[in-house]
Symmetry: D5
Subunit: 146 residues, 10 copies
């Protein structure tokens, strides 16, 4: 069973049981974003987490094996088109050089890791319309001279 079939199996089970990502994540004791990304095939799950998820969703052992596999992280569109994802891409385009200026001023020459990294999404209530708050948290990695 490959990652694509794994995702489809999880989606069907999630729909049938009427579970939300937030609930699934809570049950297996991990964050919502990471749990979702592993179910979409973009992260590998430690064995005990994969077991807990398969128990909750009553999925067979091959889903567990697929969840543990190390993924090839790929995406189809160099420039994404779905409006929700495009807006994130646009933010990187518009604010990328700004973030480079501000991060390197605070930390020196280096980058924010996308590997030693986590992310969360929260809902902020606002009378003019609720707001999405996305927080990215990555280790600063300084360039080394040698």
């Amino acid at each position: 069973m490959n990652k694509l079939e794994m995702t489809q199996a999880i989606m069907v089970a999630k729909e049938n049981k009427q579970l939300q990502w937030e609930k699934i994540a809570e049950v297996i004791g991990m964050s919502t974003v990471w749990t979702t990304s592993a179910c979409l095939g973009m992260n590998s799950m430690p064995a005990e987490k994969a077991r807990a998820l398969c128990e909750l969703l009553e999925l067979p052992a091959e889903v567990k094996t697929a969840l543990e596999a190390y993924p090839i992280k790929n995406w189809d569109e160099s420039v994404p088109k779905d409006p929700l994802i495009y807006r994130l891409y646009e933010i990187v385009g518009v604010y990328g050089p700004t973030l480079k200026e501000v991060i390197q001023e605070k930390f020196g020459d280096g980058i924010m890791s996308a590997i030693d990294f986590n992310m969360s999404v929260e809902r902020e209530h606002d009378p003019k319309g609720d707001r999405v708050v996305v927080t990215m948290n990555g280790k600063f990695l300084p360039y080394k001279a040698w």
Copy 2:
């Protein structure tokens, strides 16, 4: 004076006065990220903010005019190459569909605005290496049926 020349003038003045973006932002009473992005030509400044910035950096009136101009927001590389900016692009690629799942589960069918939007960068101290925390905050916009 176009936005490019404006940015160069600001960079030289900032270097000469040994000011940081954080300090400049504080003086004009705005956030660091927004102030930097306006100075890099990616946002327009209200007149009073542009005036305050030009006073602080002792820059002529044409810089003020250029800061107030509505920018054409453009970027050269569809897929960015600088490692710091590429990591942000990679995060959008790896986690974009995850964010779509999680945001639409929490809010319904719609997007996070990149226009009614703000962003901040913080330093989180960590004994295993300090961490960069980037927070994005955008209004949720639901799709309307008509």
Copy 3:
């Protein structure tokens, strides 16, 4: 049933019943453009509208479920090739900077939303050949400073 299969099922039923988009839209009490776009998989339908549409076209429950699903809005061709759609693309290319000038002069720095948005198509009779009138109506979203 995915959105693609849903569209095919609707197309076959529409053909068999000899119904037009305009009529279908009228029956479910929505506009022609929005109804068509939801049937082509580019918008999600509220439950009662999906039910009305499936009753009219005598389609099974899984079509209703597919109509309600939040779509991934994607398109194959970065530059469209079908002449009717290419002409729209060409209009954006030729008149895009003009619209930016005119909209920002009228409203200030910001954009026309493509989310809080609706569109209609009308036929204008003209002795020299009838004309297509496309009206786009989107909320103005001003850039916020922070």
Copy 4:
């Protein structure tokens, strides 16, 4: 004087005289969108209109000549990046096949001309936030069999 230099000359004069596109268009007796597009180099102006515009803005004869020249209509970005223009591109991507369905249902096999074409922009007041209304009006051209 090429079209680029012409646009720059007009922009400076317009700024100095504090004139808006709407006013300029009114004085020369043409629509705002068309007048702006001709000043941005995307349409050629009839001699009398070019003369009126140069008189209003006190511009020399070579601007008039450049306004009359037949333009090469070109644009830099196959996929535009400025958010205001990208939203228009996104609308073509999301609603292009819908418009093809609806237009061809109303008119038969053919296209909306982008040549025998005009466009306008209006402001619609709305308590929840004003709206941009863009109207495109093009002659329907049926495919001919031969």
Copy 5:
């Protein structure tokens, strides 16, 4: 039956009956180029022509329906590779600006329509090697000012 399957059915029947495009076109009373393009799925056929073609080739009703359907005109290769088609592309690249100069000198600012358009291919005998003569005939569409 989609256009692709329709083309395959026509090709098989044409091969079996050893008919040429020129003969098929003559029987249905249309030109060779247009008839071929409709059979390749790039134009829609009026009902009586589709009926005549299906009678000649002894093809079922679903081919007739497919011939009448309005096509999505698309092509796989932005830059074609087959040498015969590439040469046509090369001619557009090499002579495109020349044709713009010559057509606009003769007709004013505008274009040759690709919709109100027809085309023919003839064989010209020549002792040094026969020649292909392709004639394109399209309505001139002037740009309108408004």
Copy 6:
């Protein structure tokens, strides 16, 4: 003097003398399309033709030398954007496979040469709007087996 400077010199002289391509071609005894393409830098001129053209336009010897030089035939846009030239590209996309079918049916396996080639443009009067007639004439080159 390179081809680009040559074209600019010719354009200025042509404008000053109020000559049309058709007239220039007639004077040097060549066709309008070929003469224009050579002046735009896409063909090399035999010495006597270059001399005649420079005499007519009163241009210096270096223009003559540039006209005789063998050009590098290049064009900027893989997919052209100017509407007049795009329509020609669209015709190649829509009718390319049709022309391959028809030409190879008439001539056998091979191509129409774009080198041993000529082209003309004529105006066809028509009460419903005049028409552009473009004729391409190229030697048929059969593929050789060896």
Copy 7:
């Protein structure tokens, strides 16, 4: 049977009979390169050659028909990636302008035909390592003025 299936059938038969391209070509009385290219679907075979090849490889009549069909010459990668083929592409990139200089100096303004063309591959023994010798032979086609 399409060209792809034809190639697969030939490859299997060739493997089973342990025949080399050179031998196959010799038996049908054609060159190795041309015979291989026809078997890979990039050239059409005259009937008698196709018959001889099918007899040698004991292939059915539909392979013969497929060999005679006029091919659509296409290739997947605009820039090839297999190292053997990339090196040929690199040679065109590095030496293309050199060949243009040298050929046009020897022959005048024109090209080497890729249609009236043949090619061979030989092995040259060399104590420092044997060498591949590829010879391309194409008719010179001069540009015609008209």
Copy 8:
């Protein structure tokens, strides 16, 4: 002096002295193709050859230095457009897989080197039109297992 300026200096001197590449190559005792490619900046010249060339063309020492410099071998167009160079690209596309089959059948798994490589161009007289003969000669490099 960079390679581009070097090429321009050589071109002017060659034109003034009315020398051909073949003659220049003969005088410095190298092949025509290699000499031309070095003058176009695509190969580095040994010191004595650079000296001989500069003496012949009466060029200053900085040209000699530029000729000796190791070039960055680059080319502008991933898919070349000039017809003479495109035909070479087309040959690689059409015959690339054929050459892979034939070379690997003769030599085993490996490639023809584009580094330990030479090339020549000859004119073959033919009553039906003279022919260009291009010969490429590269060392066979077998893949090594380790």
Copy 9:
């Protein structure tokens, strides 16, 4: 059996037998990197190595045949997206010109062969986090003048 099916068969057998690439390579007496690349279809295996591998993994003869076949070395993504592979691509982008400077300073004008080439991966223990050491070893190939 093609290379893709071969890889899948090897992966399943490797998983079932719980063997690592390092162990497989040791058994057949080759390096880990080369063995893995041959199993992924990017190198051809000599017969005795393919036999040993199939014995170890208990795979049928058709896997052995597929391992011996000469591969078409291709990859899907011109710019790879998986983070592990992208980092290697980034290193080529950031350090490519540096390696050109350093290699050509040490060796003269030429390249490092990617054909007469081998590579290894080692783990270097480090208290601050273990390190990956990749060693590439390719024959220097000097450019030849001719």
Copy 10:
């Protein structure tokens, strides 16, 4: 002074003093690869190293400032064309998935850092032709679950 001008100044001084990268690196007490990359503008130099380099090469203070600046790491060609650099790109394409298999087998799910990274180039003497040995050494970064 930007990085580009800095590189040019260093190149001229290095040429005049006839120094090699290896020697320059030795004098400032850093590795050859890192020193070269900083001089080519792809790494920032600590102040004392920049001072030492400018003293050695007798370069002014603005070169020192430019060496210390944090670079924007960019490269022109998504797919490099210079043969030496292309071979490195080809190695990533051919062996990328192999390295992913081998590294993740040795280390678990994660990547080799391109930031906490160093590289060296050595010459290996070999009677069949000397070899280039490139060693890349990067910290392993495991993906974190959260």
